[in-house]
Symmetry: C2
Subunit: 252 residues, 2 copies
């Protein structure tokens, strides 16, 4: 396939690399950040422009990998792409937003936390949506060339999975940040926790999280809980979360 | 080494397997749950008893892998082990608790969430403490035969790491449980989240969690946040955590 990539951030970069690796051609990178556009175009062997009006009109697929705000702006003021297949990559935005610039709006949403610093992702599930069965089929076939896990998902399903991903990834990562901060300030080695963090994730392939809850809260071990809370005195965010998690787990 | 294992639950089982695999002998399993004791003794090729007074007095090392409550009880009413090396496996309990039954109290704490259903753990960091340098050395040398990551850690360091492990494992697992529950009730596939969960954990080997925070809260994307909260209406625990996490992440 011949593509135009609109955007040059984390999602555009990680997807762009996989697209190129799968043998497709990224004709052009379009981004209002000229430096980022040039960097990504260099990496993908593409032309680039920072002007929406210079967008190549001959591609098979336009991937719009922009933040939600920039995506709205693109839908309002971007160039008419008429009968071209245009897919955005946002979890919480309806595909209909793109109706202002194309008769073939679509979505290709990567259910993964993508960062361009990370060269290799073992798995990036892709959720696909489009207006017609033919476009769904076309986009699914394309998606399968860059990912082993491809599913059709309408707007409602996609935003539900996006919400669930926020819980596990964004909030999980915040817990890791608080733990790292605590360890740094208390001068104990956060890296000793990496095996238990990895185990907590890995065992979900075989166990439901409800079956493997451990720790003082599920045991209703008030002595340990009180001890922990007293140790967390000056860590206000961590204390607050500790109390709420403990309350919820004790009530299970 | 010749050991006696006191306890027959998750910690005793997982450590017992590794100890046996490393070529040591578990002379005896001691547990007040006769069925569990028999099962573990069968697996380890050991004798077993459910009576503390029948404990073998000739071992090089006694591992006390009991819950905090049972451990207290053992320290109060267990047999005198005089000059034997006795190590408990608890994160939040001082080694001094064992002074009532031995002159050589010690700790061998696995910083991992251990479940006997799980046959293989890639890594179980062990935190070691003992009364004398000689016992620390002896226990460290033993620990190295069953784990690639062994550190000395006094009571204070150990309980800090235990607290941090509660944050990342117990609370992380609760987030996974809430996400799974939401997905089940909303009829979307929780397993699609496993790659992002794994990625969130794996990238900590190379990035600090503060560097890789993503999502609506860190972007202060109020539209998505309000949408998510309205979708979480009937999920009270999840809503409550969503609000608290979002407040904390937005304030970063």
């Amino acid at each position: 396939m011949q593509l135009v990539m609109i955007g040059s951030g984390n999602v555009a970069t990680v997807l762009g690399r996989r697209i190129r690796l799968a043998g497709h051609t990224v004709l052009q990178v379009v981004s209002r950040q000229p430096e980022n556009a040039a960097r990504l175009a260099g990496e993908l062997g593409s032309a680039f422009t920072d002007k929406w009006q210079e967008i190549d009109k001959q591609a098979d697929l336009y991937l719009v990998a922009l933040s939600d705000t920039a995506l709205s702006d693109f839908a309002r003021r971007g160039p008419a792409l008429d009968n071209r297949l245009v897919a955005h990559t946002a979890g919480a935005v309806s595909k209909d937003l793109l109706e202002t610039i194309t008769r073939r709006p679509a979505v290709l949403y990567p259910l993964q936390s993508l960062r361009k610093e990370i060269e290799f992702y073992p798995e990036i599930p892709l959720l696909i949506d489009a207006q017609t069965p033919a476009d769904k089929e076309l986009l699914t076939a394309f998606a399968r060339t860059i990912s082993g896990v491809v599913r059709e998902a309408d707007d409602e399903t996609r935003i539900k999975l996006h919400l669930a991903a926020v819980l596990v990834n964004n909030f999980g990562n915040h817990l890791f940040r608080l733990a790292e901060d605590y360890c740094r300030q208390e001068k104990v080695d956060f890296r000793l926790l990496l095996p238990v963090i990895r185990e907590t994730a890995d065992r979900l392939t075989r166990f439901s999280p409800g079956e493997v809850q451990t720790g003082p809260a599920i045991r209703k071990d008030r002595a340990t809980i009180e001890k922990h809370l007293s140790m967390l005195g000056k860590y206000l965010d961590t204390s607050e979360l500790y109390e709420l998690f403990t309350k919820q787990i004790e009530a299970l």
